[in-house]
Amino acid sequence: MKVIKIDKKEWAKGLERLSKTYQLFGPAKHEAFFVFKALEDGELPDLDVQNTRLSPRSVIYPQSEKMFEYTLDEDQEDHHILKEIDKEYSSRAIIGIRPCDAKAFLLVKRNFDAPEYKDPYWIKSYEATTLVGHGCNAPCSCCFCTTAGCGPFHEEGLDILLVDVDDTYLAKIITEKGDRLLAAAGWDTKTDTATNDPIENMKEAAEAKITSMVSTDQLKDKSTTDLFEASFWEDVSFACINCGTCTYVCPTCWCFDIQDETHGLSGIRMRNWDSCMYPLFTFHGSGHNPRDTKTQRVRQRFMHKLKYYVDKYDNGIQCVGCGRCVRFCPVNIDIRRVCDLMNSFEL
């Protein structure tokens, strides 16, 4: 695996060259917090960010996304027929994505890119996107990535890993996509004698800073129905107000709703993020609702992330330990606590 050195003085120029062929996204400060946004001409990603408030999932999977269009005008030959919309999937790159957020795309990919069905919108968008990660030297106190199958320098899911070393970025090229991006940026890559050692050292130092942990080793062996019927759910869910914050800030949540919106005689079919926290999510036309109470809905969220996903894919939990839901839950429901309750549950 190749590691090159990018002189920080050359950083902006390379990004400018890159912006000719890639649409660039990156963290930027918005009022009191950071978000991922499309970078304007000459705007640099703010790599000082600890963690953005929202994950970059919307770069690949927008909160509202058009799927089809239609006309209801019966004078038109194709009235009432849904038609695909031309969509733009030119190259784009997220510069300064955290390793946890990049890994999250891989977890979500199992859902959108399944053997039986392929979600064309997500897949095309994902394939068009190059993920340039930024190693996390100063993780937040509620990051628990190292025990959630990820880590501050985790490479899985990234195309390039950037590591901030004094006046240079070390760039570890992980995939061909990453290689192509570097070529387009045209940084001087002659000095590719840089070794992997500083990265390894910084990685160890960063991992040591993460003190928040979860235990997940027993989840797979627990009985689904026993966990489902466990008595702790009432206590876990009591404070929940059933807002969608945890699911919307989460990089690994993927649920959506499909809606038609008509204006005059023309309209679109679109999808919008949805949340298992909302009663309407599972509300039958008949009035029946299998998840009618908030306890059932809270249980669904945690069971999905920490049990159903584990059983379905046999590849860890549906969580990368980014800590956003912990920080932003308005009533302090903490997935770390629930995970430990589930992992240590005995009948």
């Binding site: 009022e31 009591f238 404070a239 807002c243 309407l280 912990v326 932003f328 308005p330 903490d334």
Partner: protein, 315 residues
């Protein structure tokens, strides 16, 4: 205010022991700084997990609606006003609740404090008047009065208006506050400026409905934004739909909102949603001399008719 907890526990133990209530609703220690989690306590043994400090801003009245048990509930001034509103609106019966009143000196604004710190705050130590925050390479002691939630800083009903037990002597109510400075500022804007102001205000809304769901007033079985027959509001990130949600929600709270700040506290995007409800609160005060949740004896202005209504069309 920190000493309240002994009394809260003593009362809770007594209520549970004497079976006066089936559960006490209060707060337990949070897992992150400046956060506590609403919880219920059903046994005397569990009472010790209750806490009280300046991180108890969530309005606990939100946890009362439609419950059938007998409930002891810890209530600040604003919580008590929302309990009054709940009783008036038949969401809970007066004899179903034992209100453990807490004279309140205000809750702290964690988002604001976080924004003031150089780096992530890892530890917070509270005394009666100060908040000491610590993080990697910094330490700061803040005057609590300076870092209150905005609604607390201008609160004029810190003492519970209705209670069965009181955990301490009443605190002095604030009289020298200007409650509506921000509203007047917006009222003075031109229509174009107002439009821009609100567009900017709501530009980061992700429609998580945290504001609505944290609000004790928002207990409708189906909110108008969720209604599908007819569908009043689109479900996308369209700015008209987002505005419609916020404006209409605020109107639904007119004459009912106690400015408890739950909505603003809950918003993950830091949107000042109280600006909407406060305008209507101000109107209710000016037009009907009404403040929500102060008495069980009078009906709120929007669900009653008075011959001296200020508007001509209705007289």
């Amino acid at each position: 205010m920190l000493s309240y907890i002994d009394k809260i526990k003593e009362i809770s133990r007594r209520l549970l022991k004497e079976s006066k209530v089936d559960m006490v609703i209060g707060f337990r220690k949070g897992t992150v700084v400046m956060m506590n989690e609403p919880c219920f306590v059903k046994t005397v043994a569990d009472v010790d997990k209750l806490v009280w400090d300046s991180n108890c801003g969530i309005n606990l009245a939100n946890y009362l609606a439609n419950r059938t048990e007998k409930i002891g509930i810890v209530a600040k001034g604003c919580d008590s006003r929302n309990i009054v509103t709940h009783i008036i609106e038949n969401k809970i019966k007066r004899d179903q609740v034992v209100i453990i009143g807490v004279p309140c000196k205000g809750m702290i604004d964690r988002h604001n404090i976080e924004a003031m710190a150089e780096a992530e705050i890892q530890e917070v130590i509270e005394t009666d008047d100060t908040i000491q925050v610590k993080g990697a390479g910094f330490e700061k002691t803040l005057d609590k009065k300076e870092v209150l939630q905005e609604n607390c800083a201008i609160c004029v009903h810190r003492n519970p208006v209705i209670y069965d037990e009181l955990v301490a002597d009443e605190v002095k109510e604030q009289t020298d506050v200007d409650r509506y400075e921000d509203v007047r500022h917006i009222e003075a804007l031109s229509p174009e400026e107002k439009w821009d102001f609100f567009e900017d205000l709501l530009s980061t809304c992700i429609r998580c409905y945290g504001c609505r769901n944290a609000c004790p007033l928002c207990y409708c079985p189906t909110c108008f934004v969720d209604e599908s027959r007819p569908q009043w509001v689109g479900k996308s990130q369209d700015s008209t739909d987002i505005r419609t949600f916020h404006f209409l929600r605020a109107y639904h709270c007119a004459g009912r909102c106690t400015d408890c700040g739950a909505c603003e506290r809950a918003c993950p995007m830091g949107i000042k949603v109280r600006l909407f409800t406060k305008k209507l609160e101000k109107d209710c005060l000016e037009l009907f001399d009404w403040e929500a949740g102060l008495t069980l004896e009078k009906r709120p202005p929007l669900d009653t008719y008075r011959p001296d209504d200020p508007d001509e069309f209705i007289r």
